[in-house]
Amino acid sequence: MPQSSTPKMSARNVNVFYGEKQAIQNVSIDVDTDNVTAFIGPSGCGKSTFLRTLNRMNDTVASARVEGEITLDGENIYSSGMDVVQLRARVGMVFQKPNPFPKSIYDNIAYGPRIHGLASAKADLDVIVESSLRRAGLWDEVKDRLKDSGTALSGGQQQRLCIGRAIAVEPEVILMDEPCSALDPIATAKIEELIHELRGRYAIVIVTHNMQQAARVSQRTAFFHLGTLVEYGSTSEIFTNPREDRTKDYITGRYG
């Protein structure tokens, strides 16, 4: 699959340390809008850690330290002039466990637009809430109970609510950290379908344990092992004809 002309985000020689321990070694990777990128690899390989460097969520961990350069549209997100709050509005994130706020469905979606001042009137906000829920594939299920608590939804609905919440602030990149690992197969299928629909509009990076899922939803796959990026290429290449033995062993289930 052809690499698109200009990458949305690119990382160059990124190292991440937790205190003395190095979690990521020298990773360079490009992410673009046309393709869904999957990060795969065994537990503890650093794929989630690396994902969290892309919107600086590692800043919340006191001992974490990031070296190297990560750019969003050519601008280094670790430069001192970068507004982290603004960055996270542009690079949204969906977590492993659905984490809706203990507020109504409406307020969950309206949370981001409100704090970023995206809607001046109630009517504007209503439009954003509806369109976000539609894009998250949740509108038909919840349109009659927007005032109900977001935590009262099923696990799969909660995760789609969280995706809708991320979409509502019109991000450019959406990071998903094993978004289906707490869901049943039907809910998982819905999320995967949703990822297909969102592709092209947002640059999507998904961390997953499930190799079938990576094969189903992504166009490009990066295989991490022991904190290094072993191989990065088109998903079909990685799964049918990996260059590296380690990738092949992992994909064929030799370890991991």
């Binding site: 603004q86 977590f95 466990k97 706020f101 203990p102």
Partner: protein, 469 residues
């Protein structure tokens, strides 16, 4: 026989029983050598370890004998008196119950060595019968206790067999001992509530409960001086003073400061800073309330009065609601802070991450996500703090004053329920008057209110805990 000696003797017997029963059990047990763990040379293994057999025997020696001694110590005085009265010297006693018992008490005190000599000659005549009766019964009791100890020990000793389940029996004794320990606390509480209720009922027999709960004038002194109970026991000024100081002024200090320090400690402070600041804040909770009391009375109150006079408030008192309330608020800060700390910490990290990942700042996250999610816990903490504040005594006794004013002026002197209870019950008081009994009625009201607050608070906190676990 001397009480200490007999108890020591029984304890010694218990030790002997422990050692010998254990030794017997060890003899019955197969030697531990030789790998094969069961039925070596046809002998069955001990069901319980030897030490349990030891405890079993020791308990059989100790429990019945000591229990008997406790009962005997309570029954014996009556028996001794009974026997002493059968003596011929008792015939000279007056029939009048009061002087009769006075003489008997005198005789007993001399007989037991608590007094040098009796005042009344009739008591002197009773000393010797008393002494002999006492000797008779204490010796009898001691012998009975020893016999019980021996009997218990012998019974337990004969039951030691390899398959005897001493371990289970000891477990049952341990369980009942723990049950008794917890029952004592419960029974004590019930007793306190019972006496509170009983004395309050006596008070309400003299004063109309409606007048007490809704009356606006509090002057128990006038009732004591014989002006009658009407209009003297209206407790509303007290209730107001308590609420004004404990639930309004103190909470104005404690809620914002406690909450903000909890937010700082949980959200902003670095781990190293938190490790220092949190224990230091908790030191506040360890300051004796009397120290807060004189801080309020000697430092805060005069300064507040001067300040009020300087601002131009004419009737400022040197004992003000504000002084007591401010200091009480400071005292309560650690409670509010640690409850808020707990409930903010128990909001899942994923909630906080979710908000931060949306591009919210830390303070937006706190305001919009953490506080609403932690609110029930915080409210529960505040209710507990209020219940503590209104029951607090030393600060208000020292700083709030005694005048039962119904006022909104924080610089005026007000009085509280606890202050008045102290006031009503200190000094020489006759116990039958409405004035002293009013203290019980006030105590009952305070108890009911704090109980309700605690129940509501714990319920709120519990429901909140369940939501996240």
């Amino acid at each position: 026989m001397n009480g200490v000696a007999i108890v020591t003797l029984i304890l010694g017997l218990g030790l002997v029983a422990w050692l010998s029963a254990r030794a017997k059990a060890v003899r019955l047990a197969p030697a531990p050598s030789g790998g094969a763990s069961r039925n070596r040379s046809g002998r069955p293994l001990l069901h319980s370890l030897p030490v349990y057999h030891g405890w079993y025997a020791a308990l059989w020696v100790l429990a019945p004998a000591l229990l008997f001694l406790v009962i005997w110590a309570n029954v014996m005085p009556g028996l001794v008196t009974e026997r002493a009265l059968q003596d011929s010297a008792a015939a000279a006693l007056p029939i009048d119950a009061m002087s009769r018992s006075a003489i008997l008490t005198e005789a007993r005190n001399v007989a037991l060595g608590n007094a040098q000599a009796a005042f009344d000659p009739r008591a002197n005549a009773l000393i010797e019968p008393y002494r002999s009766a006492h000797r008779f019964y204490s010796l009898g009791g001691a012998l009975a206790a020893l016999m019980l100890a021996f009997a218990g020990g012998a019974f337990a000793f004969t039951r030691i067999r390899p398959d005897f389940r001493a371990r289970t029996k000891v477990e049952r004794v341990v369980m009942s001992a723990l049950l008794v320990a917890s029952l004592i606390a419960i029974v004590t509480t019930v007793g306190i509530v019972g006496s509170l209720l009983w004395e309050s009922l006596r008070f309400f027999a003299m004063v109309n409960p409606f007048d007490f709960l809704f009356g606006l004038k509090w002057s128990p002194q006038s009732a004591a001086m014989g002006y009658g109970n009407e209009d003297a026991f209206g407790a509303v000024p007290l209730f107001w003073g308590t609420i004004f100081i404990g639930a309004i002024i103190a909470m104005f200090v404690a809620i914002p400061l406690g909450l903000m320090s909890a937010i700082y400690l949980t959200q902003y402070a670095r781990p190293a800073a938190r490790a220092w600041l949190k224990p230091m804040l908790e030191v506040l909770a360890g300051v004796p309330t009397v120290v807060y009391g004189y801080f309020a009375a000697l430092t805060i109150a005069p300064n507040l009065r001067d300040f009020a006079a300087w601002v131009g408030i004419s009737n400022a008192s040197s004992e003000s609601a504000l002084a007591a309330g401010l200091v009480m608020g400071v005292m309560i800060i650690p409670f509010v802070s640690s409850m808020a700390d707990d409930s903010i910490n128990s909001v899942p990290q994923s909630m906080r991450d979710g908000s931060l990942a949306m591009g919210a700042t830390t303070s937006e996250t706190i305001k919009q996500v953490l506080i609403p999610a932690a609110l029930p816990g915080v409210v529960g903490g505040v209710l507990l703090a209020v219940s503590r504040a209104i029951g607090e005594t030393m600060i208000v006794v020292m700083a709030a004053g005694l005048a039962a004013n119904l006022t909104l002026n924080p610089f005026a002197s007000v009085t509280t329920v606890t202050t008045q209870i102290v006031q009503l019950l200190t000094g020489d008081q006759e116990f039958e008057s409405a004035k002293t009994l009013a203290a019980f009625a006030l105590g009952l009201v305070l108890f009911v209110v704090t109980l309700l607050l605690n129940i509501v608070a714990l319920h709120v906190v519990k429901r909140y805990r369940e939501a996240y676990e």
